[in-house]
Amino acid sequence: MTAFDIADAQRTAQALVSLRGVGKTFPSGLVALADYDLDVREGETLTLLGPSGCGKSTVLRLIAGLARPTAGSIDWRTPRIENNIGFVFQDATLLPWASVFDNVFLPLRLGGFSRESASPRVNEALAHVGLLEFSRALPRELSGGMRMRCAIARALVTRPALIMMDEPFAALDEVTRFKLNDDLLALKRRLGATIVFVTHSVFEAAYLSTRIVVMSRRAGRIIDDIRIDPELARDDDYRTSNSFADICRRGSLALRVAIEEATP
């Protein structure tokens, strides 16, 4: 596929959610986002890349309904999608007193499911992330990577059409991070959910994404919108390929512009 074909194909996919002229100003007067437009299209893995404080996480929180925009609108294709979003936070954010099973069961429990009726779905989500045999363990008994898998299983258990991931692997070592990147891609292939991913890492963005939006610190201005062929095989060969290097180079250049814009 040519770059033109990719962009064309992705543009024709329906937007699950559209942000139009969205702004977020905190009560302190800090402008996190201003006049921000973004379409999240079905099936894509959209990565928001940018320097600290550029508003990446704010975009995620606004889409997830964890914060309200102070300007603009957020339009959903259907309310069903809006009401069933998976979210993986930067920290695993697990209930420390609850077992792995109960942590993954939590969204269904809050949705009114009984333990018995939810059990097959919880076990399915745990199996997806390879934690089935650890279902009775407490979070403190897990490694950092396993805790994050548990958080991913919790985000998957409601079978959401849209999963938000806010720098989920930032605190992990490189080996675990690579492994979880591959696991996430496998999950994506299996489940087909749309993913909005936030990271600081150009390499992670280039490896995981079908689209990278590079944001400036100037209230979230979009510096570049990089489309990546979704058909590209994501494996070790891809990490050393020319196309990967090209995407990283373009992402790095855009990131440099973003950082320079951020510097007074």
């Binding site: 309904g65 954010t93 809050l110």
Partner: protein, 265 residues
């Protein structure tokens, strides 16, 4: 996988017990060496003998004091948690109620006890005194716990549109458990202190049958060994209350909370 329950390490029991026994031996030796009369400082062996000799009197008084302490502690726990939950629901309620709770806490109970003895039957006055001192730590710690929920977990419950009731049951109450248990540990000891203080006030006016009353009574008779024996029973009771609540805390928090894990380390 899940760590096995560890035996209580030697240092946790052995070290304080050794220091305690050494202090008793030193005390016994000093009294015998200097021939200190029992009406000034009785030896530990004399105190032990008095404990055995006056056991019926002292232990029946101990039961009275412990009964009041337990009753006050249970009421303080129920009221402290209930008020903390009310305060957690509304800032207005917090503003309205917390100053009264603080005013009660900062007013010395020894100053309140005589007044309570004027208005209430001695037994009830002792109960109210013990309740008042135990109540505040339970209230303040539980309130702190209910307000100290992790922001990420709050977001998680927002994301899944949890109802206020679900937030309370699945998030706020478990989050508050460590602080609530700290409040219980402090409140348990203070309930005993409150009961003793009120009994002392009641004893001074010639009323009451608790352990503190036995101290006052023995003081009037210059029966110093019995005073020490009663004091030893109070101290042991306080230690037992603290130990029981610390054990409860350890059982409930073991496996997930830093405080219990630090003890395991």
């Amino acid at each position: 996988m899940i760590p096995k329950r560890q035996a209580i390490p030697w240092r946790d029991i052995g070290v304080p017990l050794s220091v305690f026994l050494a202090t008793l031996a030193l005390w016994e030796g000093l009294v015998r060496w200097k021939n200190i009369p029992t009406y000034i400082l009785p030896a530990p062996s004399v105190i032990l003998a008095t404990l055995i000799q006056d056991r019926e009197l002292l232990f029946s008084s101990l039961l009275v004091t412990l009964g009041v302490t337990f009753e006050a502690f249970v009421i303080a726990t129920v009221c402290g948690v209930a008020l903390a939950l009310l305060i957690a629901q509304s800032k207005w309620l917090e503003r309205a109620l917390l100053p009264f709770a603080i005013a009660l806490q900062v007013t010395p109970i020894i100053a309140i006890a005589p007044l309570l003895l004027v208005y209430l039957q001695p037994g009830n006055a002792v109960l109210v005194c013990a309740f008042l001192v135990a109540f505040f730590p339970i209230l303040s710690n539980t309130s702190l716990g209910l307000a100290s929920v992790d922001f990420g977990l709050r977001d998680l419950f927002d994301l899944y549109h949890a109802s206020p009731w679900q937030r309370l049951i699945y998030l706020r109450l478990p989050s508050a458990l460590p602080q609530f248990l700290t409040g219980l540990r402090i409140g348990g000891g203070l309930a005993l202190v409150g009961a003793i203080v009120a009994e002392l006030a009641a004893g001074a006016s010639g009323q009451g049958t608790g352990l503190a009353y036995r101290i006052v009574e023995a003081g009037f008779r210059l029966d110093i060994p019995r005073m020490f024996a009663a004091l030893a029973l109070i101290s042991l009771s306080g230690l037992a209350i603290y130990g029981a609540l610390a054990a409860l805390s350890h059982v409930l928090l073991r496996g997930w909370h830093e405080s219990a894990r630090a003890q395991d380390a």
